[in-house]
Symmetry: C2
């Protein structure tokens, strides 16, 4: 009989940690689990026969443990753990998007320097294997644009608000109950979570590591009832969309609430579903849709990472060309707002709709600069993708004033 | 200086073959190409500096050539080539869906017996890496349902007919001009091409090899102008959909024109785009959308196969459980027809709409049995997915007769 090889430690036993454990058991690999590290080891835990500990350092120092599955919420704690594990040449799986967005460049260097392994498919777009797809399917292709719905909580809230007419607060509560909203919802509804994921994808797609502070993110928290009514009257939905567009040597990135109409592929991506649309040189447009959150969907991809630690390796093939790319915030985008006059100093081609509603174009950097003003005054900002913008402009330019079409 | 290693032969230099060659050149690997086998080697070919030959046997006998890229149209010829190459332990890439659908079980056995390699991502869903995804992303998951738009030509024709109001014939001609309709359109518009692809996916998803003759396929060729008007009046589109549903130990398969409404994810998949939707135990529903045909999209995945011949291997992990699965044709499906009375002997719960139009439920095996009757009389058969059926039934049961809602 073989002695079970206890070479893996699971750090964190929340929603995703328990999902990962579910698959370990299902595939008879729970014997490989040496320790589960949790904050409070005195709490009663199920299953009781597992080794629970709160001593991370003991686990990191244990040379028998060559594989670390890091699934805790605290990004700074996660950073210390992953960094030390990689410095010790361990194989590491993580799903902590904030930590990865902030430290990816350093962690990849440590992976290479010390011969460990670092996989993190679970950090982006839940059950969609999008990092693997970018690495392998686009290995010989050039990605020009990506856009996606990357935050399941925001999308769940927007779907419920639009389809069931319930309040924002009620929808948020439901998302938390269902287990796919984070403990603290700020990162979700403020567009930070989507931003972290966009930046991780950009590292793979464009070879560019960019810190979150440099990039525009506006979440759904300022969207008002009147914005939703306006959208519905115009047969539009609002989605929180993360975008990356490469134009020659410029890379334009942002996370913004976005009007989409029924012809838009994002229109029917609802609830906790995520989607990523990639436009590339060789194969044109390709779209991936799947559950973006939840114990089993996210646990599944973490388990997939775990199972492929020996065969899979991210390649970061675009890093050399990425050095020539400039992150550009000097571009105009079109926005609608329910309080357009409060940002009118920064707008061009401003057009009023009715009341305080209006739209115009604004530089990305001016939105970044005015984020505090926007949040303090609860100014909604919703961008228009090309087809929706054309519809606005065509309809409104005819008689040179805006009409709310019913 | 290294001597170029001329170890690869390309057999077939049509649309996809030229697409593959494009990527070889782009990646400076055209030096690895020893021969290009074509039917008529005397034709003037560009580029002129390549070795064109019509002697397949010479290529297969050449021990220096360890890699065969088979991209010809003739499925019987392709079968002979691939079979012999695998018997000689060669690495083989093919995109011939008909040949693979008919011979996959044998070819996989030869791959294993003689230690060669057999990859064929380009055979299914063009640029979508769906075989790789089923093999890797679902390696620890159980697929319960798949459905998809798998034939780009039919989808292009239906899109043009619905959106531009042009005739079926004109749309078919355009698809051929654009290079994504096959030379002979029967396989496309008769639903055979979609069927071959469905069966290849079923081998991977369910471990079941089923011959095309055993499975129901009805194409778009009998869809009349009045069907299109009926759909448009009811805010529906018609899509050619391939479906596989696993229920306990039964597997239900068919390719049928299908009504979809605007809430259906298939509704906005247009022109030469393909889509595959997979429902699995662990991660729920996941959808992949991309170009299903064309020189560069399909050439891209063939090149990807070529580049991963040493690292990639299909696993067919479900073959043992697939032995317990029964291909079931004894199930009812709901169909609409413009000449419903011509098949009324086989229908249950038949309801007339107006004129000869109506709908009812029918056993799959009765549709298979009556394919000749259906084609001779140009009877349109369009199935209803669950939500569309509910809408039909709910609306029509109220006053127990069918109304064409405007």
């Amino acid at each position: 009989m073989n002695t079970p090889i206890k070479n893996t430690a699971l750090i964190g036993f929340g929603t995703v940690g328990q999902g990962f454990y579910h698959y370990l058991v299902e595939n008879n690999e729970d014997k490989q689990l040496s320790e589960i590290v949790i904050k409070d080891a005195s709490k009663n835990r199920i299953p009781e026969n597992l080794n629970f500990t709160n001593d991370v350092q003991k686990v990191l120092n244990n040379k028998e443990i060559n594989t670390i599955i890091e699934l805790i919420n605290n990004d700074q704690e996660a950073y210390k753990i992953v960094k030390e594990a990689l410095q010790k040449g361990r194989k590491v799986v993580s799903a902590n998007k904030k930590m990865i967005a902030y430290h990816l460049e350093e962690l990849v260097a440590l992976e290479q320097q010390f011969g460990g392994k670092f996989l993190y498919e679970g950090a982006v777009a839940g059950s969609i294997p999008i990092i693997k797809i970018i690495n392998e399917h686009y290995a010989f292709d050039e990605i020009k644009q990506m856009r996606g719905i990357l935050n399941g909580t925001s999308n769940y809230i927007l779907t419920q608000v639009f389809e069931k007419g319930i309040s924002y607060e009620e929808a948020l509560f439901q998302a938390q109950e269902a287990g796919f909203a984070e403990v603290d919802s700020t990162a979700d509804v403020g567009g930070f979570d989507a931003l972290y994921k966009l930046l991780i994808l950009s590292a793979h797609a464009f070879g560019k590591f960019i810190l979150p502070e440099k990039v525009l993110n506006i979440g759904i928290e300022n969207i008002s009832k009147s914005d939703i009514e306006f959208a519905q009257n115009n047969r539009l939905k609002i989605k929180l969309v993360a975008s990356a567009i490469k134009q020659n040597n410029k890379l334009v990135l942002y996370v913004l609430p976005t009007f989409v109409d029924e012809k838009n592929e994002l229109f029917n991506v609802n609830n906790e579903y995520n989607t990523v649309e990639i436009v590339s040189n060789n194969i044109g447009s390709q779209t991936y849709i799947g559950k973006g959150a939840g114990k089993l969907p996210t646990g599944h991809v973490v388990y997939n990472d775990y199972s492929s630690l020996d065969s899979n390796k991210y390649i970061y093939k675009n890093v050399s060309s990425g050095k020539k790319l400039r992150h550009e915030t000097n571009e105009f985008i079109w926005i609608y707002s329910n309080k357009i006059t409060l940002v009118e100093n920064f707008l061009e081609e401003i057009q009023l709709i009715n009341g305080a509603k209006g739209y115009g174009k604004i530089k990305i950097k001016d939105l970044i600069k005015n984020k505090q003003l926007i949040n303090v005054n609860k100014i909604s900002i919703i961008t228009l993708t090309e087809s929706e913008l054309n519809r606005f402009i065509t309809d409104y330019r005819v008689d040179n004033k805006l009409l709310e079409y019913a």
